[in-house]
């Protein structure tokens, strides 16, 4: 069996074979990002659930004291950043599945990225404003 036939079976261009890289050099990046954030969010979700339950009916002063505690502030910022990364990654897949037409699709993807980015910054800024 000749190598050209092998390359055709692997749907790879000769240039791609020479470079030894995938089509976009990172085909699994998005997939890995989604899995890694989900893994990291597992313990954080448990921490968040316990914290949220403990804050049921909290006064403003109690809420501020909770957020200002260094461990809580760090874990809250980690939860926020990972959650928005995971949210953006998940919504991206949903949009790619359901939104038809390249114009609408790109517009929706960019809008979701913008909203996720801004909300992540706003919420982290709020935590820092209270904690610092």
């Amino acid at each position: 069996m000749n190598s050209e036939h092998d390359a055709a079976l692997r749907l790879q261009t000769p240039l791609g074979r020479v470079r030894g890289l995938g089509s976009a050099r990172g085909g699994t990046h998005h997939w890995w990002g989604q899995r890694l954030t989900s893994l990291a969010l597992l313990p954080l979700t448990i921490w968040f659930a316990l914290s949220a339950v403990g804050l049921a009916g909290a006064s403003h002063a109690q809420a501020l004291a909770f957020i200002a505690a260094p461990l809580n502030a760090v874990l809250m910022i980690a939860t926020l950043l990972l959650s928005f990364h995971h949210t953006n990654a998940g919504l991206q897949v949903v949009i790619e599945d359901y939104v038809r037409g390249p114009g609408m699709r790109v517009a929706a993807l960019l809008a979701v990225k913008a909203v996720c980015g801004l909300l992540a910054i706003a919420s982290v800024f709020a935590v820092l404003r209270i904690a610092v």
């Binding site: 659930a49 339950v53 403990g54 049921a56 009916g57 926020l80 949210t87 919420s123 709020a126």
Partner: protein, 146 residues
């Protein structure tokens, strides 16, 4: 589109790139398949994920309001403590545990475990039961604290 009597006909309504309809075999889709536990849990993982994309807005509101001052914080606490607010929070709790447990199930699949049908059904029921138990448990603790 013509009225279909044979459900299999539903898989034959294709569209050309210009948008005109054409009768040709297509990959079977939702309207053909009988809902199963496996497919229902799969779509619920996506639905609960999308629900939390909305639910996280409440967390952002809560944090920003806490930073803004007692007035803004009082408003968000009033809303979350209202009937509608509690209903949303209860739904978010169930969605969170479902998506978390469903996510663990997916991570096991990603690692190559639990693909055979009996295990898939067992893990599926485990996710449903776990979601119910953890949701009720979370709210019992929350009501005790509150």
């Amino acid at each position: 589109m013509s009225l279909t009597h044979d459900p299999r006909d539903a898989a034959f309504h294709g569209r050309r790139t210009d948008g005109s309809t054409v009768r040709r075999p297509l990959s079977p889709h939702l309207q053909v398949y009988k809902p199963q536990l496996t497919s229902a849990l799969s779509i619920f993982n996506r639905i609960t994920g999308c629900a939390w994309a909305g639910g996280i807005l409440l967390l952002v509101w809560w944090l920003v309001a806490a930073a803004a001052g007692p007035g803004a914080f009082g408003a968000v606490q009033w809303f979350l403590g209202s009937f509608v607010g509690l209903l949303i929070l209860f739904g978010m709790t169930a969605a969170a545990w479902y998506h978390t447990l469903g996510g663990v199930r997916h991570l096991f699949w990603d690692a190559g475990y639990g693909f055979d049908l009996p295990t898939t059904y067992t893990s599926g029921y485990a996710v449903l039961i776990g979601t119910g138990v953890l949701t009720v448990l979370t709210w019992i603790v929350a009501l005790v604290v509150w």
